[in-house]
């Protein structure tokens, strides 16, 4: 499977855009802008764009029931590397509180806070190392 096919399969397995061919837009979107606008990005995955460059893509559910695929400049997910103070990268609870998610554990878009967090792949292929992503 190509990276693009794998990305499509992962998005389908996440309940997003099942059976829809992955058409990656040419325009890259700033992930920070989406976050500032309050847009939630579920399961952004690595894929290859039309030039074969690895990028992150993510679907966003629109209010009209449709979805929009974004090509992102970075992953919206993050983890706390081992050795970083737990207070510098925490998981956000649904009630607004925070908690320690543990070393290296991935937190989805909007579910983390702190300067000690580093971007990471949101989801990986079973059996592969998370660090290598797709």
């Amino acid at each position: 499977m190509t990276a693009k096919e794998t990305a499509a399969a992962i998005l389908a397995a996440s309940g997003l855009a099942l059976g829809i061919a992955l058409v990656i837009p040419d325009t890259e979107t700033n992930e920070a802008d989406l976050r500032a606008a309050g847009v939630k990005l579920d399961y952004a995955v690595y894929a290859e764009d039309n030039e074969g460059v690895k990028v992150y893509v993510a679907y966003v559910a629109e209010s009209d029931g449709g979805t929009t695929l974004y090509k992102l400049d970075r992953s919206p997910c993050a983890r706390r590397p081992a050795g970083v103070d737990s207070r510098d990268c925490l998981a956000l609870e649904s009630d607004g509180g925070t908690r320690d998610q543990g070393d290296e554990n991935t937190m989805q878009d909007g579910d983390w806070i702190g300067v000690g967090c580093v971007r990471t792949a949101c989801v990986v292929v079973a059996g592969r190392e998370p660090e290598t992503g797709l």
Binding site: M1, A13, K40, D42, A61, A91, D111, A126, G127, P130
Partner: protein
């Protein structure tokens, strides 16, 4: 000499015709039968895969590639690892019953309740969003007490279903109606149908705990009874909750409707939260959600051009599926009588997507698990240069089996059908990302005579 040559030619012609209509014996026996000698005890139809005898399948969870009953080769693809279960998928699971097959290796297993012959597990891609699925001692799993003590946790306390010493021990205190003593993880992914599951075993005795999906506002719990002798895979399926799903395991009286729980001493292993109305085979995660990719299986067919004798009244296919939901013993028939009814109606609801070129182009049979072996709405395939026949079983919703030839299917009216060159039989998924087989496929049979498919 001339007489011998004539006899040989006649014999050869008869043999060729017999290959078409009468392949009930292996080659040696078939020749013997021409001479009036009875066939051997094992006979097969024109094409059989995963027959009840197990021919061609090898051992359960050996992670080797099976063949069809008479040796036809199978090609298989899956670009990730996947778990195989040697017996019952949800109860009576012994240590060592679960085997992880490497990328590209098929999973041959009985499926369902573990009874019946071996089949081939074919699943769509699935993602487990529960981190550290076999490390419930990790900080990703939160111990919680609700007006009661939080559970006590001991890492790597016992042997797990895969034979490794990775099962955690969780000791939940007794809870009153408004109390809780649980371990949980927020796994996200709400808004669509989710299924959760976890392997449980009594550390010393049987008991009952709760497994819940919850987002704080809506609670969906299943009471899970476990025993001490073997593992039970507890499932909570087809739950739709809002965003921010919590996977909760333990004495969740304050979320289960107020049912009190006694103290429970439980071994816990491999928790899953998968998007889907039914729970799939487990998927191991570590620090990130992980996806088991979709599977494709094709079997080369050895009967080909010139095969005749197939008709809509005779061609019989018995793909038999088994999943944790439907168990074993399902027999679905593609047989028959040019159909009536409206094809494609059920297909339109397959996860909101329809993989075939036309929704009105089904070659399918109603295969409702509640009424197996029914023959209504039967369809026949189109005639033409056939080289690929596809069936797949969708356990979600209407639970239909779908079929297609050369990516195009038809519900035409002609009563007979001559099969041209058959080269490949695709078991299960239509593509790697379409057609939700999600079952163990067994007892696939293709023959001009329904009598030889059993």
């Amino acid at each position: 000499m001339r007489l011998a040559l004539v006899l040989a030619l006649i014999s050869g012609t008869a043999l060729a015709q017999g290959r078409v209509y009468d392949r009930t014996c292996d080659v040696t026996s078939r020749r013997s039968s021409r001479g009036g000698v009875a066939c051997g005890s094992v006979s097969y139809a024109q094409f059989e895969f995963a027959p009840a005898s197990g021919a061609g399948m090898g051992a359960a969870c050996a992670c080797t590639t099976p063949t069809a009953a008479t040796g036809e080769a199978m090609t298989f693809s899956r670009a990730s690892v996947a778990w195989c279960t040697k017996g019952n998928e949800t109860s009576g699971i012994a240590n060592g019953d679960l085997v992880e097959c490497a990328s590209g290796q098929p999973r041959v297993m009985p499926g369902g309740d573990g009874t019946g012959g071996l089949g081939l597990s074919v699943w769509e891609a699935r993602t487990n969003s529960a981190l550290r699925s076999q490390e419930l001692e990790n900080a990703a799993w939160v111990l919680l007490g609700v007006t009661a003590a939080a559970p006590t946790r001991t890492a790597n306390y016992a042997t797990a279903p895969d034979g490794t010493a990775t099962a955690e021990r969780l000791q939940f205190v007794a809870t009153g109606a408004a109390e809780g003593s649980v371990v949980y993880q927020t796994v996200g992914g709400g808004g669509v149908a989710n299924s959760i599951g976890v392997y449980l075993k009594g550390a010393s005795s049987a008991g009952t705990v709760d497994v819940c999906s919850s987002n704080g506002a809506s609670y969906s719990c299943t009471a899970c009874t476990f025993v001490a002798a073997t593992w039970t895979r507890c499932l909570r399926e087809n739950t739709v909750v809002a965003a921010g799903v919590d996977l909760v395991i333990g004495n969740a009286s304050w979320r289960n409707g107020g049912t009190t729980r006694v103290a429970n001493d439980v071994l816990v292993w491999q928790a899953d939260q998968q998007v889907g109305a039914t729970m799939g085979p487990p998927i191991t995660t570590t620090s990130a959600a992980a996806t088991r990719l979709g599977e494709l299986a094709d079997v080369a067919l050895t009967f080909g051009a010139g095969t005749t004798g197939f008709s809509t009244a005779q061609t019989t296919v018995y793909p038999e599926g088994a999943s944790p939901n439907y168990g074993d013993g399902l027999s679905r028939v593609l047989n028959g009588v040019p159909g009536t009814g409206v094809p494609g109606g059920a297909a339109a609801s397959v996860n909101g997507s329809y993989p075939f070129p036309s929704a009105a182009s089904l070659f399918t049979q109603d295969c409702n698990p509640s009424a197996p072996n029914t023959h209504t709405n039967a369809r026949r395939s189109i005639s033409g240069p056939l080289n690929r026949f596809v069936t797949y079983f969708n356990p979600v919703g209407a639970a239909n089996l779908f079929g297609c030839v050369n990516d195009i299917c038809d519900d035409g009216v002609a009563a007979t059908w001559t099969a041209p060159t058959w080269t490949r039989y695709r078991l299960g998924n239509y593509t790697v990302s379409s057609g939700s087989t999600n079952a163990v496929i067994k007892k696939v049979c293709l023959d001009p005579s329904p009598l030889r498919c059993r």
